[in-house]
């Protein structure tokens, strides 16, 4: 390479440094405020009110420093304006790359999420990674909540949603899945509901069922008890528990711990009826028995039959409820058109017959080694 070419290459590199920087420009991490949760509410006119929590590093007594939780509120006619107004009250620029939760209030969800999500999708600063949730109470109470377990509600919700495994009744949804679901099939989503439990020893948050969002508007609520049926039907169960009556004492319960669950879906169309078959295979461990249990072959069979019966009932009940409401929360429309793209049916769930086949396999009954 001759001298002039070298100079040309160096000039090109220097120019590219300025031209390619675009919106990703150099910024020191301590000169930003990282938002961890956004709560979107509306006022009486339907204009958005944004509440956000952010963290800021401050120099404490130790060289390691410490962090501080800072709350912001912004109002405007649009989301963008509200966020800009919120930024106007901050000494450092608000950065949304560490945002973990986007929470809509019930009012905002009922008005329609389509009023807000375009900004969340369009802005480069916002990621598709956070979890989306609906909060049924007062947003100010939520943003000011003091959870001892975790300082930031954004992180708390993230951990809470990621920890839904222990409960097969909890529901979870990320913003990315939400974007996908709102454009597919029946355009129905089930979004996690969070609330502050009333009878708890200290303040915290819990997942309390799911909000059904159809065409971006909240139309119904799936209660926690119904969550299990929904999760089994949607193949969302990875762990959790099944509680059934004790075959040795009908007033007592036994608990089976779910080790693995797999739901296979078969869909067929025949005689103007959509046949939806769900084959659910569950592997469980024997977890606990109230009072006592004698694990004879007969009792084990009874436990299996009863647990299968419970799952079938939970699934059928939920399905029937939403069939009556005419809301397809089970992605039947999407699955149907994937298989029968040329058949056009209005409101598929009305013409759907569900058949649930459950197979519960008790893997291990466990040994009690020591009574003392």
């Amino acid at each position: 390479m001759n001298k002039y070419k070298k100079i040309l290459v160096i000039i090109c590199i220097i120019m590219s440094c300025f031209t390619m920087s675009a919106c990703f420009s150099y910024r020191d991490i301590n000169r930003l405020l990282f938002v961890t949760a956004i709560i979107i509410d509306i006022d009486s006119n339907g204009s958005p009110i944004i509440n956000a929590e952010a963290y800021k590093g401050i120099r404490g007594a130790t060289p390691g420093g410490t962090d501080e939780r800072i709350l912001f509120q912004g109002k405007g006619k649009t989301m963008f304006e509200a966020i800009r107004n919120m930024n106007a009250t901050s000494s450092y620029k608000l950065n949304f790359t560490q945002n973990k939760a986007i929470i809509f209030t019930q009012k905002a969800a009922e008005l329609g999420l389509d009023n807000f999500i375009d900004f969340l999708d369009r802005d480069q600063n916002l990621l598709i990674r956070p979890y989306i949730a609906i909060y049924l109470g007062d947003p100010e109470k939520l943003i000011k909540i003091n959870i001892l377990q975790e300082k930031y509600i954004g992180f708390f919700i993230m951990h809470l949603v990621e920890n839904v495994g222990p409960s097969s009744r909890s529901l979870k949804l990320s913003l990315n899945d939400f974007y996908n679901q709102r454009n597919m099939g029946d355009k129905t989503n089930v979004v996690t509901i969070i609330d502050i439990p009333k009878d708890n020893l200290e303040q915290r948050l819990q997942i309390n069922g799911g909000a059904v969002i159809k065409n971006d508007k909240m139309v119904s609520i799936i209660k926690t008890e119904e969550g299990q049926g929904f999760n089994f039907l949607m193949n969302n169960v990875s762990s959790g528990t099944l509680e059934i009556t004790n075959p040795c004492d009908i007033n007592k319960f036994i608990t089976l711990e779910i080790l693995k669950s797999k739901t296979k879906t078969e869909i067929s169309y025949d005689d103007n009826i959509v046949h939806l078959k769900k084959k659910i295979k569950v592997k469980v461990d024997f977890g606990e028995a109230q009072k006592e249990i004698i694990l004879t072959k007969e009792n084990i069979n009874k436990i299996q039959e009863k647990s299968e019966e419970n799952i079938v009932k939970a699934c059928n009940d939920l399905f029937q409820e939403y069939k009556d409401k005419g809301i397809d929360i089970f992605d039947i429309t999407q699955q149907f058109y994937a298989k029968y793209p040329k058949v056009k049916i209005d409101n598929i769930i009305d013409k759907t017959e569900l058949k649930v086949e459950v197979e519960v396999d008790i893997m291990n009954t466990g040994d009690v080694n020591n009574f003392h």
């Binding site: 390619m20 150099y26 991490i29 990282f34 963290y55 800021k56 420093g65 560490q98």
Partner: protein
């Protein structure tokens, strides 16, 4: 043949107190003995050269008779010119000039002070031979000869340096080293036009790639390493006066091979080598990657770490790039100071360094703990491959600068330029990244991991190289 004149020699070597002249009277003339006291073994000269000459009362002009019957010295030869006579004197030989004959002769009588064979300081091994080269090239040749008892092992001497007349020896195994490689090195070394040669670096500079921080010529203090390179088909260049021997060609992956790899368990040897490779790339890339992520791409930092970064950088007045360069500079200062200082002061220096870098800088808010950790980690990684310390330090800064202006795209651009630069280098006409990238003859078995010795103990060159 030119008759050697004592007057010429005396004129040339005047004002040198160590040049000794001895005259022996015999029946038909005078025999002059010229030698340098400090380079020769005086006892040997007295006992085995001057004594027999005196005892025999020379009465013949037949020098062949004197060489065969009178002098018991083991190495005797003819001298053809005055300059050759001076060269022999300066090399530690005794030159005998006969006033009654046209010829002169020299007798080898070297006996200067030599450092004994010791443990090489720069190349410690846990297991394996511990002997290292010395400054005397004859010792170094003997150390190699002892390892390879093969008649095809050749040592070609070349005198370099118009003023220093330094003996340089090209060493190779005929039939193992490709002919074109031997010719290439021979031609290059012969054409070196320098006034003096004090170290191998004078020859290295002529042979290696220009405009790069990478050494495209190898250098070692260990005879076993040279032996293994010779057996691979490479060439060694020994320079009188330095314990370092050049090996050529020298490839990038040679930097990661340590003698221990071949003397210890192959699995551990392979693990160590992989660690060195990972260490090298980590040392080059870690700081740049940290800068790119911590100043542009906050979304890929795990939340807990992002909080820690923010906390540790709170109230640090300097931008991250300046902070990082400053800490790297501090470390380079410490390292440079540590190398030059005696060991006893060096320890005190380390304590001061550790306090300044590890605590005080963070305490006064000049740097954050996270940056200190990154620079410290980068430095530790760099110690895994001391041979690559130079290029590593330079490219580390280049990649930091690229990352600071463009973030991760800049980091990738810097990395690609780094790889492209290495791929463009050559060592004695062979690609520096060999065998990486040479897919047809990809010899992976001794690159990232060490295979069984019997499978890797052969020439690394292609058969085509021998046919050219």
């Amino acid at each position: 043949m030119e008759k050697v004149k004592i007057a010429y020699i005396k004129e040339k070597l005047k004002n040198s107190y160590d040049v000794k002249y001895r005259e022996i009277e015999c029946e038909i003339g005078i025999i002059y003995g010229v030698f340098i006291d400090d380079l020769c073994d005086s006892k040997f000269i007295s006992e085995y050269i001057f004594n027999p000459l005196i005892q025999h009362k020379i009465a013949t002009v037949d020098l062949e008779y004197i060489k065969k019957e009178v002098l018991p010295a083991n190495s005797i030869g003819d001298i053809n010119s005055n300059d050759e006579a001076i060269s022999h004197i300066l090399s530690g030989d005794l030159v005998l000039i006969f006033s009654f004959a046209n010829k002169s002769i020299y007798c080898e009588a070297k006996g200067y002070v030599r450092r004994s064979v010791g443990i090489p300081v720069t190349e410690n091994v846990i297991k394996g031979p511990r002997e290292g080269f010395t400054e005397a090239f004859v010792d170094n040749v003997s150390l190699i000869r002892r390892k390879i008892k093969n008649p095809d092992l050749k040592f070609e001497p070349i005198i370099l340096g118009s003023k220093s007349n330094t003996v340089t020896v090209i060493c190779y195994i005929e039939g193992v080293a490709p002919k074109k490689l031997v010719e290439y090195i021979r031609e290059k070394v012969t054409n070196i036009k320098l006034e003096f040669i004090l170290d191998t670096s004078y020859i290295e500079e002529e042979l290696k790639n220009k405009n790069t921080a990478f050494d495209t010529m190898g250098s070692t203090e260990k005879p076993d390493v040279v032996a293994s390179k010779l057996l691979e088909g490479k060439i060694a260049i020994i320079v009188d006066g330095t314990p370092f021997v050049i090996t050529a060609p020298y490839f990038f992956m040679d930097n990661f091979q340590a003698p221990d790899d071949y003397y210890s368990n192959k699995y551990f040897g392979s693990l160590s080598r992989i660690m060195r490779v990972v260490g090298f790339f980590s040392a080059i890339l870690l700081s740049g990657l940290y800068l790119a992520i911590a100043t542009y791409h906050f979304s890929i930092i795990p939340s807990v770490l992002a909080i820690k970064f923010t906390m540790s950088r709170a109230d640090v007045p300097l931008p991250t790039i300046i902070e990082l360069l400053l800490m790297t500079f501090f470390f380079q200062l410490l390292r440079e100071a540590g190398i030059r200082l005696p060991q006893s002061i060096g320890q005190a220096m380390s304590i001061v360094g550790a306090l300044i870098l590890g605590d005080a800088v963070v305490g006064v808010g000049l740097a954050s703990q996270s940056t200190v950790v990154i620079v410290a980690l980068s430095s530790i990684f760099s110690f895994l491959v001391p041979k690559l310390y130079g290029p590593l330090s330079i490219w580390n800064i280049i990649i930091i600068l690229f990352s600071s202006v463009l973030g991760l795209p800049g980091f990738y651009i810097g990395f690609f330029i780094f790889i492209a630069h290495m791929a463009g280098l050559e060592s004695c006409g062979y690609p520096y990244l060999f065998p990486l990238g040479t897919l047809e003859s990809f010899k992976f078995k001794d690159v990232l991991y060490r295979k069984d010795l019997k499978k890797i103990s052969n020439s690394i060159f292609d058969k085509d190289d021998y046919n050219e």
